[in-house]
């Protein structure tokens, strides 16, 4: 490749990687934005529920305090107008509400009355159809701010913002803007004080007419239909009035019923129900909006609509995830019990124990840190073995170290660097026995591991056996998390898959295969990044049974940094996806292959590929609940789920005879480790969607696991004491 070409391909790769990262990020961001928008129009933040108590009123002009409810504060001499006699302007605040506003509109239409609706921006954006209907039926719309704060507490920019957002929602919903305004918590003109007057004044300076009221029915307190009707009638017969009612904010059935009596009664007394500008013979308060402003409004209302619908979708998805999580847990627990029973029965029925020697293949690449421990632990076991260490072109002294051990029955095969699958195949070719155990170069066996691992081969139908990989370096936080994950996830999962006969992976760290099975499936393939999963699936499809030997414990060194963990899991999850794709035809096939395809692949895709994809929703909702409430309930639900997880974990630890101490990290594991895992999965998805092949990323080894009986755990196992 030319230098230029090399650079170009580098650039392309980098661009693709960036694209992938962007894709994953965009997904999460979209979900969060949608939730934020929903929170925004549900007044779940920026909400300010303070209401100012009364204040002195010496700075409110006399003309205004003694004047009418229609306050024009634009000029240097503010003035309050009154509604003419025999006119009533009904005003409805805080709507539109999906339940009550239509009923109010129906009543008004029934009695041929018109009114003024002071809508909040949040409600208007959520129910644009109702706003359109108000305008179409001749009612007038006024601004009631975006989310109903007491404006006397707010800064001028915030007041501007409240009004602008309110207009935006109105423009988007009905295509008009209005010059009518009513501040939240306002009352009569003579109730204006030094704190509330500046708001009216400021609105006036912005060209708004502020409409206060003459009569407050206080219908929001639900005083009874009679009382509302009584209050709504002007004391002085025939006097005009602006009447305040509400069409939102709770049960408004009394308001609707009161309208049904009020309208005919007052009509009979000669009153007309008009909107404000009709009453004052002024030009309509509405101005049509066009151009960019209209589109901005429409976009806003549209986005809010999407958010409203999307959140119900989210909630549905969350329910599905929740059900899946608990179904999986329940299934795992149930089948884990069954597995224990079945394993005991199998052991009892076995004609005679498997004692013939087996071959152990150890593919090793730069394993100088651990290889000596690994090999020693293999030959120190209580089963006769022949060990074949395949040095895959290591740059360190891996091969020399093994040779330097001078152990009988241990051979070293050197090859040029060709990858793990090739090393395994090479090792199989050099192995002389018919049962082949595969071990990673960083894994240490207990003395009984190989014996336990090969016993299931007494059953001629068994083609492969998965061992129980354990985290050796579990003392660090990240090690403890993985330990929990191994015991609770992998170990429990393998029991379930064993019973269901669809074990997806015989781990590379500790597994055994029948040579015949390996030969029939053509050895280890390098088609995927998870060659162990690929191989296991192939063995299944060939009709062999794959079982789990939980007592065949092997101590492996887990990644110690987040970066290593990330690349390991990325390889696993992307490799699993590759393997599933490779074996996708199994779904349609007959016989054991078809069975594995339809049961196994379904379960794997459900539990390890799809479910974690939806899992971030749980955390997005947790965050949302914490930010916008109900905080207490959110925390309670989360703690409840955590308690269930903890109980299951404790059970899994008991099954694996592990001390419970590490569970102290479970809460943190649930907030940090799990998120990391699904981010990995998201990235794998992004990789799969954008195409691309992953390099094998090798762990850096520290040699932290140097003998199987890792101090704490092993002796207890060996004594056979229960440790929980």
């Amino acid at each position: 490749m030319t230098l230029e070409g090399h650079r170009r391909s580098l650039l392309r790769r980098r661009r693709r990687r960036r694209l992938r990262r962007l894709l994953a990020l965009a997904l999460l961001l979209t979900a969060f934005t949608v939730l934020m928008l929903r929170g925004y129009v549900h007044s779940e933040f920026l909400a300010d529920h303070r209401v100012r108590p009364g204040a002195p009123f010496d700075r409110v002009p006399e003309e205004v305090r003694e004047g009418g409810p229609v306050v024009d504060a634009a000029g240097p001499r503010p003035v309050g107008h009154r509604v003419p006699d025999h006119m009533i302007v009904l005003t409805f605040d805080d709507g539109p509400d999906p339940e009550w506003t239509p009923k109010v509109l129906d009543k008004l239409a029934e009695h041929d009355a018109r009114a003024v609706f002071f809508v909040t921006g949040a409600m208007a954006a959520r129910h644009p159809g109702l706003v359109r209907r108000m305008v179409a039926e001749g009612h007038e719309i006024g601004l009631h701010t975006f989310n109903h704060p007491d404006l006397s507490y707010q800064s001028k920019p915030r007041v501007d913002w409240e009004l602008a957002q309110n207009q935006l929602a109105l423009a988007g919903a009905a295509g008009v803007r209005t010059y009518l305004f009513r501040p939240p918590y306002s009352s009569h003109a003579h109730a204006l004080d030094n704190e509330s007057w500046p708001v009216v004044r400021y609105a006036g300076s912005r060209g708004y007419i502020t409409l206060l009221n003459d009569i407050d029915t206080k219908d929001w307190a639900r005083p009874g239909v009679d009382e509302i009707v009584r209050r709504a009638v002007p004391e002085e017969a025939g006097a005009g009035a602006v009447v305040l009612m509400h069409d939102a904010g709770g049960d408004r059935s009394q308001t609707v019923a009161a309208l049904d009596r009020l309208l005919p009664e007052l009509k009979a007394r000669g009153y007309a129900f008009t909107n404000l500008t009709e009453a004052l013979r002024a030009p309509s308060a509405h101005t049509p909006v066009s151009g960019p402003e209209l589109w901005k409004g429409r976009f806003f209302v549209f986005a809010v609509g999407v958010a409203e619908r999307a959140t119900s979708l989210f909630i549905a998805a969350l329910t599905v995830v929740g059900l899946l999580v608990f179904a999986r847990l329940g299934l795992m627990l149930l089948l884990a019990r069954a597995h224990g029973r079945a394993a005991r029965r199998r052991a009892a029925l076995a004609p005679e124990p498997v004692t013939r020697p087996v071959s152990v293949v150890v593919p090793a690449y730069n394993e100088a840190e651990c290889i000596a421990h690994t090999v020693r632990s293999l030959v120190a076991g209580d089963h006769r073995v022949e060990v074949v260490v395949v040095d895959d072109g290591s740059r360190d002294a891996t091969a020399d170290i093994v040779e330097g051990l001078r152990l009988p029955d241990v051979r070293v095969v050197r090859q040029a660097n060709a990858g793990k699958p090739a090393a395994l195949n090479n090792g199989i070719a050099h192995a002389s026995h018919d049962i082949i155990v595969m071990v990673d170069g960083d894994t240490v066996f207990e003395s009984s591991t190989i014996r336990e691992l090969v016993q299931p081969f007494a059953d001629p139908a068994v083609g492969a056996v998965a061992g129980n990989a354990k985290v050796g370096n579990r003392d660090t936080l990240i090690g403890a998390w993985q330990h929990i994950e191994y015991v609770m996830g992998f170990s429990l999962e393998r029991r379930m898959y064993d019973v269901l006969r669809c074990m997806p992976t015989v781990p590379g760290a500790v597994g055994a295969f029948r040579r015949e099975a390996l030969e029939r499936v053509g050895g280890v393939s390098d088609d995927t990044l998870a060659e162990d999963t690929d191989l296991t699936m192939a063995v299944h499809r060939d009709g062999w049974r794959v079982v789990y030997a939980e007592n065949a414990r092997a101590w492996t060194e887990a990644p110690e940094t987040l970066r290593q963990l990330w690349s390991q899991r990325y390889r696993w999850s992307y490799g699993t996806m590759q393997a599933m794709w490779k074996h996708r035809r199994a779904v349609l096939e007959r016989g054991p292959s078809g069975r594995f395809g339809r049961v196994g692949l379904l379960l794997i895709s459900l539990f390890t590929v799809l479910m974690p994809l939806l899992a971030p929703l749980i955390d997005v909702f947790l965050l949302y609940g914490l930010l916008f409430g109900p905080g207490q309930r959110t925390v309670a639900v989360w703690l409840g789920v955590l308690a269930v997880q903890a109980a299951c974990a404790a059970y899994a630890f008991r099954l694996d005879r592990e001390p419970l101490a590490h569970l102290v990290s479970l809460p943190l594991q649930q907030i940090l480790h799990r998120q990391l895992m699904y981010l990995v999965l998201l990235r794998s998805w992004a990789t799969a969607l954008t195409g691309g092949r992953l390099r094998w990323q090798k762990l850096r080894r520290t040699g932290a696991v140097d003998s199987a009986p890792a101090g704490i755990a092993k002796p207890r196992h060996m004594q056979g004491s229960t440790t929980v």
Partner: protein
């Protein structure tokens, strides 16, 4: 930036025993202390309550001081001598501060209480000398609109609670340390329990005594945690343990704070139990991270000088920053004399809104002047040659003389490699050099 390990020629008695043995300051702890001071000044300028969550300075300061105290008490020599040295370092700067503050107050015609309260007043005045309690100060003095704000004395007395609490902690440390060694977990967690009793209104102890007990309870867990850090307890327990439980305490603190917000909402200063839990959990994490830096890492290196200064003048910065803040206001007020400013509504509005920012900009030069002029008291208290401006990269000469925050990095290092059971007790931590020795290889080149 050269750092030679020349032992100080003039090492004060009783402090040189470790310095020659290769111990240096733990610059990580120095960085924490500098951060804590920065946060205190920021908080007192802007009054942002969330800063108390971002970095619980007071808890961190007490935890660092606790570690230091345990270290001092571990040295040969009588506990009494240690206490005397420790208290001397606290009192001398306090006396200087008291002299200045009382001087101005008396110049402003603040007079002793008369009649029945007189005796008590004089007794309380002694708290300026021996800070076992809160000394008297006028809530308001002078007139509004004068050079000094009428409430300045109250602001100037703000930092005194810390010295009082510190004083009590120092006095009780020998006892606390004994208790800790006998019953480590109980002693560590008992202050949190005490806070739950006296800091939540469950039991209300009135007056200044109540305040003292509350402060002692709130920060007691942090102080004892300092002991635990010194004794290497955090390295003896499994490594996953502390980072797992630290956030639990913090979570409890958050939960409590959410249920019981103070008058300013989310401000730990007004939520004793929240403060105690959050600070404790936070310090557990900080001590867990504890990388024991002999030198600052490259990316912090440019702050080396400032961090040294902050550590050499910690008490002075803490005491005098309020005075510096008080002084910024009349200085900024001078801007009103510019006609263009008071004539233009835009400019005057702008000025009105930018007071905190201007204060923050101005407080540093003022604080520098105060520290340069009055910081020598710390050197004097430490029996060290007075220095004007102990700025610059950390040098050994500073060692042994300065104690607000000296930490024995060598000890931390030792216990890290020897004491930590790694990999199930297999001692893998003993080969830290092995990490990274293996190149990042690839099976698929």
């Amino acid at each position: 930036m050269t750092e030679t390990a020349t032992p100080s020629p003039a090492q004060p008695p009783g402090t040189g025993d470790r310095a020659s043995a290769g111990a240096g300051r733990d610059r990580y702890l120095d960085l924490l202390r500098a951060l804590a001071l920065l946060r205190v000044v920021l908080y007192h300028t802007f009054a942002w309550g969330w800063l108390t969550f971002l970095f619980p300075s007071m808890g961190v300061m007490f935890a660092l001081a606790g570690a230091l105290m345990a270290r001092s008490l571990a040295r040969p020599g009588s506990a009494l001598g240690v206490l005397r040295g420790r208290i001397r370092r606290l009192l001398l700067p306090l006396w200087l501060y008291g002299l200045v503050v009382l001087g101005v107050l008396f110049a402003q015609e603040w007079r002793p209480a008369r009649g029945e309260e007189a005796a008590l007043w004089w007794l309380k005045l002694a708290f300026w000398v021996v800070p076992v309690g809160t000394p008297p100060f006028p809530m308001r003095i002078g007139e509004d609109g004068g050079m000094l704000d009428a409430g300045w004395a109250q602001q100037a007395a703000g930092p005194l609670w810390y010295l009082r609490a510190y004083f009590w902690f120092v006095l009780l440390s020998p006892l606390l340390l004994k208790a800790f060694r006998a019953l480590p977990w109980t002693t560590l967690l008992a202050p949190l329990g005490l806070t739950a009793v006296v800091g939540t209104g469950l039991v209300e102890i009135p007056g200044a005594t109540g305040e003292a007990v509350r402060d002692f309870a709130v920060y007691g867990a942090c102080w004892v945690l300092g002991f635990a850090h010194h004794d290497g307890v955090l390295y003896r327990i499994p490594r996953y343990f502390a980072p797992s439980v630290g956030p639990v305490f913090m979570g409890l603190g958050l939960w409590w704070s959410a249920r019981h917000p103070g008058p300013d909402g989310w401000d730990l200063g007004d939520i004793p139990l929240g403060q105690a839990l959050w600070s404790f959990g936070y310090c557990v994490l900080l001590f867990q991270v504890s990388p024991a830096w002999q030198r600052l890492p490259e990316r912090f290196r440019r702050f080396d000088g400032a961090i040294t200064l902050a550590n050499n003048r910690a008490v002075s910065v803490y005491l005098w920053h309020e005075i510096a803040l008080i002084a910024t206001v009349p200085l900024i007020d001078l801007l009103w004399r510019i006609p263009a400013v008071w004539r233009s509504p835009t400019l005057s509005g702008l000025l009105e809104n930018s007071y905190p920012v201007l204060m923050f900009l101005l407080v540093w030069p003022l604080l520098a002047v105060l520290v340069a002029a009055l910081g020598w008291a710390e050197d004097l208290a430490a029996r060290r040659r007075p220095r004007l401006w102990p700025y610059g990269p950390y040098r050994r000469e500073d060692e042994g003389a300065k104690d607000a925050g000296r930490e024995d990095a060598g000890r931390a290092g030792e216990s890290r490699t020897d004491g930590r059971p790694v990999g199930g007790g297999t001692g893998a931590g003993a080969v830290p050099g092995a990490r990274g020795a293996v190149g990042e290889g690839s099976h698929r080149p």
